[in-house]
């Protein structure tokens, strides 16, 4: 496990509900989240040292849409600011790394995405190989279908296993006021549904969602000054596999295994896991690659199958885990974010409550 130069904690967080359609701008979605976290820490906005956001112009449907999003974070007079064309979890990663320099104390992190105006299947097909994949419209749902089929062919999962992930996720989401979908489903009824992407059915796939999330992180002394119950980031790591799905073993996630080792996942108990299960088969791959056993509560929030605002969904996993820790559902846990198709890129973040 990598030792950290600076201890860093989450001191405030906020998220929007996962909306089927938010009929206003992305900025109007982000702004209340930003205002909430600033209010929680009780700081003057301009005393926050660094600001970073994650979003995707292809989803927003406008070149330089991320610049417009700056409207929502309070950037006048100008602030020290950055952006990643990634989920907000990667903005958190950059903010965390920035704090390791030890010269600043606080970072405002946000992530936002509106999937409803466009087609995320078409938008995210553009992040595949531009010569041999993108011109075919090779979309993330297709690649999830490949992963599902590979799991079945390898004898590692069945369609019933996928349906059980869906049932658990929707049941857990009943306790999550931010969830878009929730309820009591039956495995047999799910299995009677038609395929949308054989071997996947509609609820094996995420809903179309709009949403935003924001967070303030701080170095140790500042964290204790800003809040009574900081949630500590004990490790964070990001690993990437080939963008050629045919060169990967889709039934395993070596990138998750490496990241888990780097963050020292099993150096302590893993009470809670919030995983970016965008397609139900991914939970099976992730549980296995993270070596989770029955002691870990997985996706108490319901996870992305019950609300998936891309570009906020990974940061939201971190928030849901922090909330679980604050609420005493566990003392230590792991949040997972993914990018690229079929878990091509994975980020792990280990959080621990104040002891």
């Amino acid at each position: 496990m990598v030792s950290l130069a600076e201890d860093v904690a989450i001191v405030a967080f906020e998220q929007t509900p996962s909306h089927a359609r938010f009929n206003d701008s992305e900025q109007a979605m982000i702004m209340p989240c930003v205002n909430s976290v600033i209010e929680q820490v009780g700081m003057d906005r301009h005393d926050i040292d660094f600001t970073i956001a994650g979003s995707c112009d292809y989803l927003s449907g406008m070149p330089f849409a991320f610049v417009m999003n700056i409207d929502a974070v309070g950037a006048w007079p100008p602030v020290y600011e950055s952006h990643v064309e990634m989920d907000g979890a990667w903005a958190l990663f950059e903010g965390f790394v920035r704090l390791q320099s030890g010269d600043i104390d606080t970072v405002l992190v946000s992530g936002s995405g509106k999937c409803s105006p466009g087609s995320y299947r078409e938008a995210f097909s553009l992040q595949t190989d531009p010569y041999v994949h993108a011109p075919l419209g090779l979309d993330p749902r297709t690649q999830a279908g490949f992963q599902a089929q590979a799991l079945i062919a390898a004898g590692k999962a069945t369609e019933r296993d996928f349906a059980e992930v869906v049932v658990r996720s929707h049941a857990n989401a009943k306790n999550n006021p931010y969830a878009q979908l929730s309820g009591d489903l039956s495995v047999d009824e799910l299995l009677a549904e038609p395929y949308v992407q054989q071997p996947l059915r509609r609820l094996d796939c995420p809903p179309t969602s709009d949403g935003a999330a924001a967070m303030v992180i701080a170095r140790a002394d500042k964290a204790r000054e800003l809040c009574d119950n900081p949630v500590w980031i004990r490790g964070i790591d990001h690993r990437i596999e080939s963008h050629h799905p045919t060169l990967r073993d889709l039934t395993d996630s070596p990138s998750v295994r490496i990241a888990a080792e780097r963050v020292g996942l099993h150096d302590g108990p893993v009470d809670v896991a919030e995983l970016t299960v965008t397609y139900s088969p991914e939970e099976i791959v992730l549980r296995d690659s993270l070596s989770l056993n029955g002691d870990t509560d997985v996706n108490l929030s319901g996870g992305p199958l019950t609300g998936s605002p891309f570009m906020a969904v990974g940061l939201t996993r971190v928030i849901e885990l922090a909330r679980s820790i604050r609420n005493g559902r566990g003392r230590r846990g792991v949040a997972h974010a993914s990018s690229g198709p079929a878990l091509q890129q994975n980020l792990l973040c280990v959080l621990e409550g104040d002891s």
């Binding site: 466009g118 078409e122 041999v132 994949h133 075919l136 419209g137 979309d139 279908g145 799905p245």
Partner: protein
């Protein structure tokens, strides 16, 4: 339901906004439309020493793999995927037959897929290759025909441009013999037209702004914190980080002051519809704190424009006004609601008095 294809409107950065809107009856064109456009742009890429011959091969009816030690990679790569060592270009023909090693059935094809009817995507290990190519398999819409270990064969499209989409696959028994005439020049550049379809209602404040223009009014929003008036409103005051609503809306004057202008000399990028130079200016309407940018002036030359010049909006007749080009993203006043902007003849405002409002 008739569908109209509006003339594409050129935007900055070479982006085409090919608009399309539907209307119920020609006699009653609905003015407050849903936003519906395709943001489209051709990406051109050099192909390099390995992908270039591969795409040239596809155009010419052949599939090539790249030797990597004792293996053959297809799709070919410029590097060894295990060691990342650079590979010297060494291409060898593979296929056209192959075996499906993984597959999934696309019940709902997207607009970007190779087929508009249900089809299979598959990992295809071509005969003579050691790695698999992702590609589409057309079984005539029958998912039952797909399966692991099925034999497939390449079929080349009648029109080929040096693209992975020049080819597709069918069950081997369905394959036809093809005589392909090779092209001439190697494929050094490949072009991929990307497009993102955006479809959404006008945001409520945008709809009210658009309706105002139809009524010959310019609607702004007054910040409840600072009192500053923004036109058009964006639903928030970014300076104070506060959301704004209909309660914050005010009608503002249609007389204002030029705070910036430029002459646009249209570069003929993809999607450009303008051909002649024209003036674009920003006008700070009286009583407001933020100029409206992107007001186009067709009947004055750049030499006649001055910062500080007073201008008034001359509206079109109500029945000639249209806001069909208004979307949720750009904040100008479209030419389809005004006949022209004309100088009022009042003395110019001193530029120094505009310095906090220039854009």
């Amino acid at each position: 339901m008739p569908v109209w294809f509006g003339a594409p409107v050129g935007r900055t950065a070479g982006l085409l906004w090919g608009r399309r809107w539907a209307c119920g009856e020609l006699a009653a064109v609905p003015q407050l439309h849903d936003v519906d456009y395709t943001l489209e742009y051709p990406y051109t890429r050099t192909t390099g020493p390995v992908i270039g011959p591969f795409l040239t091969g596809l155009r010419d009816g052949r599939i090539l793999g790249q030797r990597c030690g004792d293996r053959v990679l297809c799709p070919p790569m410029e590097f060894d995927p295990d060691t990342f060592a650079t590979l010297d270009p060494d291409l060898v023909e593979v296929g056209p037959g192959g075996e499906v090693v993984n597959w999934t059935w696309v019940a709902e094809p997207s607009a970007k897929h190779p087929f508009d009817r249900p089809f299979g995507f598959a990992f295809i290990k071509l005969d003579g290759a050691d790695t698999a190519l992702v590609h589409a398999v057309d079984t005539g819409g029958d998912p039952e025909a797909m399966g692991t270990a099925m034999r497939v064969r390449a079929q080349f499209r009648p029109e080929r441009h040096g693209s992975i989409a020049d080819v597709c696959f069918v069950p081997e028994a369905d394959a036809a013999e093809q005589a392909i005439e090779p092209g001439e020049e190697p494929v050094a550049i490949t072009e991929h037209l990307i497009g993102l379809r955006i479809s959404e209602p006008l945001y409520p404040h945008r709809a009210r702004f658009a309706q105002g223009l139809l009524d010959g009014k310019i609607i702004g929003q007054r910040s409840p914190v600072t009192g500053k008036v923004y036109v058009p409103g964006r639903g928030y005051d970014n300076m104070s980080r506060v959301l704004m609503s209909e309660a914050d809306e005010v009608e503002v004057s249609d007389v204002g002051t030029v705070v910036a202008f430029t002459e646009l000399n249209p570069v003929q990028y993809y999607g450009q519809t303008e051909t002649e130079p024209y003036v674009r200016c920003s006008i700070l309407f009286d009583g407001t704190d933020q100029p409206v940018i992107g007001i186009d002036i067709r009947d004055m030359t750049v030499d006649e424009m001055r910062v500080g010049m007073r201008m008034r909006c001359v509206w079109r007749d109500p029945e000639d006004r249209s806001v069909a080009d208004i979307d949720n993203r750009f904040g100008n006043i479209p030419e389809t609601v005004y006949a022209r902007f004309e100088p009022t003849g009042e003395p110019d405002v001193l530029a120094d008095d505009l310095k906090d409002h220039s854009w």
